[in-house]
Structure formats: C-alpha cells, structure tokens
C-alpha cells in the first residue's frame, strides 16, 4: 500500500514537472522574439533582425510606399505628424544632421518620416513638410489599417488626443528605427536623439 502511494506520488510529481516543462517550451515559443541588447549610446539592437510584414502606404508624391521601398537601403524611420511643433521638427533637424555627418552622399541610406495623422497630412502637406528639412527626405502615410501593419510590427504606438480649439494632438512613439536593406527592423534609438550617436550606430551595424 505504502509502495503504491509512493509510486503514485512520484508519478504525479513527474506528470506535474512534465506539464511545467511543456508549458515552459510553449511559452518560450510564443514569447521568444529577437534578443534586444541596449548599449550605453541608447541604441537597442535586435538579434536577429525582425522582418517587417507587407504594407501599402504612399509617399509625399503619392507614389506607393511599401515594403519593397525599404529594400536595398538602410532606413532611419521616425513617426510623427506635421501639426507637432516641438519634438517632430526637433527630430527631423537631428536626422538632417545625421545626413550631413554621412557626407550627404550616402545613397545607401534613406530618411523616412511617417505621419500617423493621415486625416490632416495629405501628400501635398507632407511634401512641403519633409522637403523643408531635406529635399531627399521621404514623407509617408496612408490608411489607418495599413499604417497599423507597419506600426504594430515595429512596436510603435500612437493615439489621437481630444480636440481643443479645433486642433488635436497625436501622442506618438519618440523612437527612431533603423531598418536594414532586407526590410528588417535591426535597431532602435530611444530619445532624446543625438545625430552623432545615430550616425555611429549605423556604422557599427554596417561593420557587424
């Protein structure tokens, strides 16, 4: 009798351990994303890089801007909106400096401002906005569903605030994302942004 009870207890223990093990493996599968390593320059690198899904947006010239437009070049990507008086122009000036630091000649890098306020930021508005900062900067927006495909993949969150005096604010992620030439999220920089660090971060990734 004692032996049987002991056997039963052991069997229960083994079963419980088995269940824990299986759950652990499943959880690992579910939650295992790329490892994220943040260095002291504020850059978080994803290892391995995380492929972006297909999406279909448009640029400031009303040309299709999809995943294919991210292929073949490194891209710095920032999310914002043109009714943003402080953080968006501040960040775009930093990106203009990154472009200057790169010698202005690097055809292998593109700079993309994605508006998360497509209701107000039509292509013509975006065109005037981004070209003020640099004639080669790309302005992108599109329907909310397609925007969400991109933002969700990058972990970008944005939310329209309440209207005041006929205007509204859009809260948005302050990070700058680095997409590699295979359209994969490779790294991101939390703010506050610094042109030298952003430029060095890309050089480091190119060398790795």
């Amino acid at each position: 009798m004692m032996v049987t009870r002991k056997t039963l207890t052991s069997a229960t223990l083994v079963a419980a351990l088995g269940i824990i093990l299986v759950l652990g493996v499943l959880a690992g599968r579910t939650f295992r994303g790329p490892a994220r390593v943040t260095s002291n320059d504020g850059m978080t690198v994803l290892e391995p890089a995380s492929p972006l899904p297909e999406f279909r947006l448009h640029d400031q010239n009303n040309q299709v801007f999809d995943r294919a437009r991210l292929q073949g070049k490194w891209s710095y990507v920032f999310f914002g909106y043109t009714h943003c008086p402080d953080i968006c122009p501040t960040t775009l000036v930093v990106l203009r400096d990154v472009q200057k630091l790169a010698g202005g000649q690097d055809q292998g890098v593109q700079y993309i401002f994605v508006s998360v306020d497509p209701e107000r930021d039509k292509a013509a508005t975006l065109n005037k906005y981004v070209s003020y900062f640099h004639p080669e900067f790309i302005g992108v927006t599109g329907g909310q569903d397609e925007l969400m495909r991109l933002t969700r993949a990058l972990g970008v969150y944005y939310e329209r605030g309440k209207a005041r005096n006929g205007d509204y604010e859009v809260q948005h992620s302050a990070a700058i994302f680095l997409i590699d030439p295979e359209a994969r999220l490779r790294a991101l920089f939390a703010g506050p942004h610094n042109a030298a660090r952003l430029a060095q971060g890309l050089q480091r990734l190119k060398g790795s």
Binding site: D86, P89, V93, D97, Y132, S173
Partner: protein, 149 residues
C-alpha cells in the same frame, strides 16, 4: 529694413532692461522662434526665464498678435511616447532659471497669420503673476541641432 528691425529689437530689449531696473525680477534670455516648414500650422518659441528675485513668480499668459493663440506646453517622453501637456502657468522659483528648449517646455504658437521665415521678428508679450509684463521682439531662426556644425 533688416537694420530698422534690429533697431526696434534693440529698443524693445532696452525697454525690458529698464523694467528690470525698476524692480522686475524676471529676465528673459535667448528667445527665438523656430522657423517652420512652409504652411505648418504650429510653431514653437523658446527662451530662458531667470528669476533674480527672492519670491517665486509665474508666467500666466502669453500674447502674440502674429498667431491665433499661444499656449504654454511641455513635451514629455514617457515609456517611449512623446506627448504634449498644456500648462496653465509656468512657475519660476526664486533665484532659478527655467528653460524653454526643444524637446521640453515651449510656447506653442497656433496658426500664424502670415508666413514666418528666418530673419523676421515675432512680438511676444509675456505676463507674469507678479504683474510684470515683458514685450520681446523674438527672432525667427532656422533650427540647427548643432551636432553637424
């Protein structure tokens, strides 16, 4: 024209200094308005406020005839999200400097009545709780982050 503007700016700045001599304890420095892309509906103004007195003061209102309305704002980055908070007032503690600078506190200037380009001046009227009123001719400047200069 540019020279004329500079002279007017000088007179206004001198007026601000005279107010300081007359007992005003708030000193405004490094005021500028960021030139914005053409057609941009909102701009930002930045400056630092020094309270040389022994009592706290508050910026309670700002008027600017070149814009439809002006608000005192703080940009906050919380959990990676940037958002703006409209402030009713901005306190300047005694013997302290409060800075309005890119990425932080700023004046949000809504709907310019005309294009604002570098070289122009914007008249800003700052009103403080103590009763102090300062009028500044604030230059519009193209922003540089400085890292690549």
């Amino acid at each position: 024209m540019a020279r004329y503007k500079r002279i007017v700016a000088g007179i206004v700045l001198m007026a601000a200094c005279v107010q300081t001599l007359a007992g005003n304890t708030i000193v405004v420095r490094d005021a500028w308005v960021r030139e914005s892309p053409p057609g941009a509906p909102v701009l930002a103004a930045y400056f630092s406020l020094e309270n040389t007195g022994s009592k706290a003061d508050k910026l309670v209102a700002v008027r600017c005839p070149d814009f439809e309305n002006v608000e005192i704002h703080a940009t906050e980055i919380h959990d990676g999200m940037a958002r703006m908070i409209a402030l009713d007032t901005l306190t300047i503690p005694p013997h302290a400097i409060v800075k309005l600078a890119p990425g932080g506190n700023h004046l949000m200037l809504h709907h310019p009545r005309h294009a604002m380009v570098a070289g122009m001046n914007v008249k800003l009227e700052l009103h403080f709780e103590s009763g102090t009123g300062l009028t500044l001719l604030t230059p519009v400047r193209r922003a540089e982050s400085g890292a690549a200069q």
